[in-house]
Amino acid sequence: MSQENAIEVRNLVVHNTALTAVRGLDFTLPAGARMGLVGESGSGKTLTALALMGLLPMGWQANGSVRHDGVDLITQSDRALSNRRGRTISMVFQDPLSSLDPVRRIGQQVSSVIRRHTQAGKKEAERRTVDLFRQMSLPRPEQLMRAYPHEISGGQRQRIMIAMALACYPQLIIADEPTTALDVTVQKQVLRLLNTAVQERGSALIMITHDLPIIAAMCDTVAVMYAGKIVEMGPVAEVFRHPRHHYTKGLLDSQPTMDNIALDGSSRLASIPGMVPPLHSLPAGCAFHPRCAAATEQCITQVPTLDDGPRRAACWHPIGATVPMEVA
């Protein structure tokens, strides 16, 4: 039953007239579950998020099915979608300074969300907003209500964005690189707050990032995207310890850890050879094959799909397989 799942995505395709950025995504997120979406720039992760929210930029279009809160979001009108946005499904964006209205006071921006989706009046909404600020460990919440976005720090702004997204206890929160634009010292604090707040509300979370440790810390499952497709998906611990797709392995190997850095400066960071292909001229067959050490003739001619089971990888020669994959 779709009511049990926070969101069910089937064959999501996102394209404009020139190219296709998301080439058929499939996943299901149960209620309260946490999924990480990993990928480099150009993999299509942000467009996926925007497609789920119905906020694609002009010229872009989404096809497929996105079931959430009992309806298929793709087929809904802007008016119907706006009813759900902020209430059952919400998003935290990457840059909090440009994402907040510069001419309105912060308190008004957040409390207006509460007033929009609940019966609360002005005073009640303001009271709840102050509460939210306190939950977010924001200093002097009452004063903050009357402040403007440019008067506070980046970390505080992002916490306010999170507050706005969580204010109405949504079923699903999508966080798109929420800490990338913040100082390193502040990132951990914000993530911890996000973690706690999501947990308290029992919301499902899709955490989009290129930063693997964040996913390891916060998510149950992870989906790895490459060139518009999910190439591997499964429980976080297992995927990170025993990746099946070569791209995933490459990503993991290129993470600097204390183990693989020799302190005399003699070690080199592993990296995946080659570059992410531009979306308008993707290689034939498996999009990763030009950069993959295990590529064969089959990889060039046939496009692999995700196999079944809890640990899914789209690869003709997944790591650890003793028997070559059969054509599905």
């Binding site: 404009n16 007239t17 020139a18 930029p57 002009m58 010229g59 279009q61």
Partner: protein, 302 residues
């Protein structure tokens, strides 16, 4: 009315640029440089007409021939007819083109020169000089151009020269601001610092490095001020403080025509149409040039 005086403002978004790739396949999109083409064509036509007027005119535009008064358009020898004193309209339009171009270009050129000097000075001098020049320009901008023109006419008498000076007086502050912001953009680039480190003097850097890089902006602005100058000159001549007979101006023609408006309306149409087409041509040319130079402009002039 001086319409493009606001050209010193951040230029409004070009009118034929879509915000993102077009979504519908059946949308018929004009080529990016449609502006430019039409602008070039129109401007060339008028320049040609003005040039030709020095060598050939259908008949004398100033001598009254009363028996020919108010002939309708299409009459042999007077394609657009004659005015109330029997003077050929086409001939008057041709000579009027001369005035528009001379005064418009004259004003724009003088403003360009003065604006360059002031703007470059502001961009490359210390904070105080920059503030002084910028504030000065702002204040001068608050004196309406029409008013300046009237004041000059009061003190120096009216005529083409006064009009050119009036145009200069109110385009120069705008030009200064445009030059200043474009120059500052260039001066912040690293190659300028490199040049200065090599020991190049300030003037040298300005002329050799800054000038070529702001040339695009200058050309676009010049074209737009040229257009504005034509509009203004027409307005002043209409009011009677611009050029007088035997010089001819389209604005002057409209003034004369208005007195006849009840009797013969075509007289009120041709000169106005000429103004619109010429100004339109120049504006399209300026916008088209701006689009062509855009990638460089966006980098330099911000």
């Amino acid at each position: 009315m001086i319409l493009s005086k606001s050209s010193h403002l951040p230029n409004p978004a070009p009118l034929d640029v879509p915000a993102s790739p077009p979504a519908r396949r059946q949308r018929r999109k004009l080529p990016r440089n449609a502006s430019l083409l039409v602008g070039i064509v129109l401007t060339t036509i008028f320049l040609a007409v003005a040039l030709v007027s020095f060598f050939y005119l259908p008949s004398n535009p100033n001598i009254p021939v009363i028996r020919n008064r108010l002939l309708p358009a299409g009459t042999a020898g007077h394609w657009l007819g004659t005015d109330v004193l029997g003077r050929d309209i086409v001939a008057q339009l041709m000579v009027g083109a001369r005035t528009s171009i001379l005064v418009g270009a004259g004003g724009a050129t003088l403003s360009l020169i003065l604006g360059l000097i002031a703007g470059l000075a502001a961009a490359s001098s210390g904070k105080i000089a920059d503030e002084a020049i910028s504030r000065g320009a702002d204040i001068l901008l608050s004196i309406p151009g029409m008013v300046t023109a009237l004041v000059l006419a009061a003190t120096m008498g009216s005529g083409a020269l006064t009009t050119i000076l009036a145009l200069t007086a109110f385009f120069t502050p705008s030009f200064t601001r445009v030059v200043r912001s474009a120059a500052i953009g260039v001066l912040n680039e690293d190659f300028i610092t490199a040049a200065r480190l090599y020991g190049r003097g300030k003037i040298f850097v300005l002329i050799r490095h800054v000038l070529p890089n702001i040339a695009g902006v200058m050309i676009v602005q010049f074209t737009l001020y040229f257009a504005a100058g034509i509009l203004t000159e027409a307005g002043l001549s209409y009011l009677g403080v611009g050029v007088h007979r035997p010089s001819i101006s389209w604005g002057l023609m409209l003034n004369e025509a208005q007195q006849q408006v009840g009797i013969s309306s075509p007289l009120a149409i041709w000169p106005g149409l000429a103004i619109v087409l010429m100004v339109l041509g120049l504006n399209l040319l300026g916008d088209g040039l701006r689009d062509v130079l855009d990638p460089k402009l966006a980098r330099r002039a911000s």
